[in-house]
Amino acid sequence: MKTKHWILLFALLAAACLLCSYFIFFGGASASIATVRSDGVTVMTLDLTVDGEYRIASDYGENTIRVADGKVSVESADCPTQDCVRHAPANSGAPIVCLPNRLVITFSDAAEYDAIIG
């Protein structure tokens, strides 16, 4: 094997190690991405590092979602129960759900568990 090939092989291995260590050290942190689904269809991907307010409307109803301080919350909803509005701002764990409006907000760290029951 020529020296060039050894260098290439070494560089590739080093890159792989760096990539692995990134996931090992940073993979378990709180999610910075949340996915918004309306009636089972992904309608928005939220970057939780960017503050903002978004209106999600469907045949079932309307919700206003707010991203602030790295967390997402439901600011308002035209549903009767308001369970989603009462949900504390979150950036990890179980999804925020507005059942009547069929709105679901999930976090990218949720893969840590297959589910959280309760």
Binding site: T81, S92, G93, Y113, A115, I117, G118
Partner: protein, 328 residues
């Protein structure tokens, strides 16, 4: 050169074999909750699972006018299909085992409190007594597959239908040759088989103080049903008092047993579902006594002051939290 090519090809094939097949995922709204399914099979298997959920949703619903349970509620008697009869028999058995802590005839009480509507309120004493008079499985009469409900009572499978459905879907998938599936039906989890990559199933128990976060985690590898019942899930406040939705069929009031939540693990989904409600109502002392004389479930209790207690079978699967083991 040929040998090297063959070797490279062999390694590539082996690596392909290692890559896990991704499950087919479905998210549906049924039985008034969000359900997510992960099926390690094909699209048709996942569609069959969704169809089974929708079939049972219509069949077991009290709001579906043509369902057997609606007919029974309306006419006082009905001939039940196989699923409704089996579920009712399971519900009655759990009710008897738990001295009525779980009761499929509790619906008039739930209505009196307004938990079926958006107008939740403390019922008047008269309304409470009228509702209590309608509650009790003793009012059910079985004659083959015909069931009569005296006294204009009302049957409702809300506390057990999801567990039964999860069980039935797992059985359907198994009959189609699917060996691995993860079903999460709004707080009810049912696993089928073990993950193809050999990793354990990881099911978190919600922290009653902060339900979106897990307070502990079950690690296990095979088919199991897990259901949590907690007073924090649905409630309203009146005059500074919090009233939750898990009613004690014997008193008519929200269960006040010192527990924040109960998680039940069982092989049978309907049993896990019905018992999670019952054990919450019974409180830890009575629930533990029932566990000692039973062999079909394990449980984890979280008390209102934050203590975690696990029966020894559940303790062997519980991780990521400190807990006290309840010995048999």
């Amino acid at each position: 050169m040929k040998k090297i090519c063959a070797l490279v090809l062999l390694i590539a094939l082996l690596l392909c074999g290692c890559a896990e097949r991704a499950p087919v995922e479905r998210e549906i709204f049924a039985m008034d909750t969000l359900m997510t399914l992960r099926v390690w099979g094909d699209e048709e298997d996942a569609s069959a699972a969704v169809a089974e959920i929708n079939r049972l949703d219509a069949l077991l619903s009290v709001t579906e006018e043509s369902s057997a349970v609606s007919m029974l509620n309306r006419d006082g008697a009905a001939t039940l299909d196989e699923d409704t009869l089996l579920l009712l028999q399971t519900a009655v058995e759990i009710s008897r085992r738990t001295d009525g802590a779980f009761d499929p005839t509790v619906y008039p009480l739930v209505e009196a409190w307004g938990f079926t509507t958006d107008e939740r309120h403390v019922p008047s004493q008269d309304d409470m007594e009228a509702a209590l008079a309608l509650v009790g499985v003793g009012q059910l009469r079985f004659d083959g597959n015909t069931v009569a409900l005296s006294n204009h009572g009302t049957l409702d499978f809300g506390g057990i239908a999801k567990g039964y459905t999860a069980q039935k879907v797992a059985e359907l998938l198994q009959s189609r040759g699917v060996v691995t599936a993860f079903l999460s039906l709004g707080g009810n989890v049912q696993t089928l088989g073990s993950k193809p990559d050999g990793a354990p199933w990881l099911v978190g128990i919600a922290d009653p103080e902060n339900p979106s976060q897990a307070i502990g985690c079950f690690r296990f590898y095979d088919s199991l049903a897990l259901v949590t019942s907690g007073g924090y899930q649905r409630y309203f406040e009146d005059g500074g008092v919090r009233y939750h939705h898990i009613l004690d069929p014997n008193t008519g009031y929200p269960a006040d047993s010192g527990l924040a939540s109960v998680t039940v693990l069982a092989r049978d989904g309907a049993t896990a579902d019905g018992l999670s409600t019952a054990l919450f109502v019974m409180g830890m002392e009575k629930a533990t006594a029932l566990w000692r004389e039973s062999e079909d479930f394990e449980a984890v209790f979280i008390t209102e002051d934050g203590g975690i207690f696990a029966t020894d079978g559940a303790a062997s699967l519980l991780t990521e939290c400190a807990f006290t083991v309840i010995e048999r």
